[in-house]
């Protein structure tokens, strides 16, 4: 028993940050391999429930005929989290980091996401495209817990559905001397997936880059606005 306790203590010590500097995620990042259809970390199709599979199959059939009307981003509505960062048309994004918050500034139609580095997120009224998120540093890893999403967004351009019960756990970690940012996303949404699953995405730092102002309705020439 004592041995076990010591082991536990060692584990805690090993997990605790040893006065290490907080990694610096500030900067502009771009997905290395844009994602059109998400897969699990072992390259398999996400474990959709039958109901979600039906919705997904319908969308894929529509897409095959050139009908992407299920994708509301064509009407300049936000891609939402987590798609914007890895979508082929999402563009680079920047991370602004300070001791109070980590802010993601996406190129796509000037979307922004606040992640509060506090135990409790501010009380936000209702679901949002980018949800409600808190973050915590575990050593050199930033772990973000996010929920409260609109169910009208897609998880990827192929039409992967989700419900308002979606919960994301995102883990960010620098690699290759800060030139690469690796992200692991865990999707937990019992109505859409038979079990929680994970995917992994990597971003390349764009030194010196700036985020250009993007105005979707000008870019897409959407009429009527």
């Amino acid at each position: 028993m004592k041995y076990l306790v010591n082991l536990a203590a060692l584990a805690v010590l090993a997990a605790a940050p040893v006065a290490a500097a907080t990694p610096d995620l500030n900067g502009v990042w771009q997905v290395i391999t844009p994602v059109t259809a998400l897969t699990t970390t072992d390259g398999k199709a996400p474990p959709l429930t039958p109901a979600a599979q039906k919705v997904y199959d319908q969308r894929r059939q529509m897409a095959q005929t050139g009908d992407h009307s299920f994708d509301t981003t064509l009407k300049c509505k936000p891609m939402g989290e987590p798609r914007t960062a890895y979508d082929p048309s999402g563009g680079p994004f920047e991370i602004l980091q300070n001791p109070k918050e980590v802010v993601f500034g996406y190129t796509w139609n000037r979307m922004i996401r606040f992640v509060y580095l506090s135990p409790k997120a501010p009380d936000v009224i209702g679901p949002a495209y980018y949800g409600t998120a808190t973050g915590v540093w575990h050593g050199d890893r930033l772990v973000i817990d996010a929920e409260g999403f609109h169910d009208t967004t897609l998880l990827d351009a192929s039409g992967m559905p989700h419900t308002e019960d979606l919960r994301l756990t995102e883990t960010y970690q620098l690699a290759n001397h800060g030139r690469i940012l690796d992200e692991t996303i865990r999707f937990d949404d019992p109505a859409s997936f038979t079990r929680p699953w994970q995917t992994r995405i990597s971003y390349r730092r764009l030194p010196g880059a700036r985020i250009a102002e993007d105005v979707c309705i000008e870019r897409l020439h959407v009429s009527g606005y």
């Binding site: 009407k75 300049c76 802010v103 009380d123 009224i125 209702g126 700036r210 102002e213």
Partner: protein, 283 residues
């Protein structure tokens, strides 16, 4: 009038998941939902009745914490029956907060004093938005209605993010992001943007921001001096410069009131296109 599905769900979500029966009438606050609820009241009988019932039975509360009387003009009394009176000047900083002592750390939320209600839906798209006009230089309803960003601090809350080498000013209204590169230089050539191109440097604890290339305002060159006050609010002096860099007239003072009680709320102008039907956002 058609209310988008997501907005309907928003009301239900609040009731079901947050279990707070929180009906948002926070009209001075920047939130699409405020408007939609107002329009529910007028034009959607069922949702009006739901909201009214929640309010009248006391199971919901209407938050009017940053509303001015103009914001709630025309709102049926039933909707304000259980509204809590603001415990502080709704255009001031609430009591009980202490500003971060770092005079160069602007990270927090702010609101323009005396700003009107949110811009919200376009004129003729179901009714005029409540509240007054945007302050001069602010993002007014005209641009908000077209979902085109504009330059300046509008009536909605502003969230400032201080980070190494940067000051980022996030205006909730129409997701307007203004990036100030501290110690940077204007690119040459510079691409005009609705948020302009801003560089800054510190003069003591005052951030001096130089802005050019504001889309739609050719030749405009602004010099702003942003200083954090002891009470946490920001004092801003704006001077227009001529082509030679000389001041045109005296600086114009303005301010942003520190509102640490606020947090970022999404304002998706593009959603109003669906909510307000043909002529507004329909492709």
């Amino acid at each position: 009038m058609t209310i988008s599905g997501s907005e309907r769900k928003n009301l239900l979500f609040v009731n079901k998941k947050k279990q707070k029966n929180f009906v948002n009438l926070e009209l001075g606050r920047q939130s699409n939902k405020s408007f939609l609820l107002l329009f529910f009241k007028k034009e959607d009988f069922l949702l009006t009745m739901i909201a009214a019932t929640l309010l009248l039975t006391g199971t919901a509360r209407a938050q009017v914490s940053v509303s001015t009387p103009a914001d709630v003009a025309g709102v049926p009394p039933a909707f304000l029956a259980n509204a809590k009176a603001p415990s502080f000047d709704p255009r001031g900083t609430p009591p009980g907060y202490t500003p971060d002592p770092d005079p160069r750390d602007f990270t927090s939320s702010y609101i323009a004093p005396g700003g009107g209600g949110p811009g919200g839906p376009p004129p003729g798209g179901g009714g005029a938005p409540p509240g007054g006009a945007a302050p001069p230089g602010g993002s007014g309803a005209a641009t908000a209605a077209t979902c085109i960003p504009s330059f300046g601090n509008g009536p909605y809350p502003i969230h400032i993010v201080s980070s190494p080498g940067r000051l980022t000013i996030v205006g909730e209204q129409n997701h307007q992001i203004r990036r100030v590169y501290i110690g940077g230089a204007h690119p040459n050539p510079v691409v005009p943007a609705y948020s302009g191109d801003s560089i800054g440097h510190w003069d003591g604890n005052t951030l001096v921001v130089d802005t050019i290339a504001i889309k739609g305002q050719p030749g405009v060159h602004l010099l702003e001096r942003w200083t954090k006050q002891k009470n946490g609010s920001l004092a801003i002096e704006t001077t227009s410069l001529d082509a030679a860099g000389r001041p045109i007239g005296p600086p114009t003072p303005s301010s942003l009131v520190w509102r640490p009680d606020l947090s970022f709320v999404e304002d998706i102008c593009e959603d109003f296109g669906e909510a307000f039907g043909p002529g507004y956002g329909s492709k």
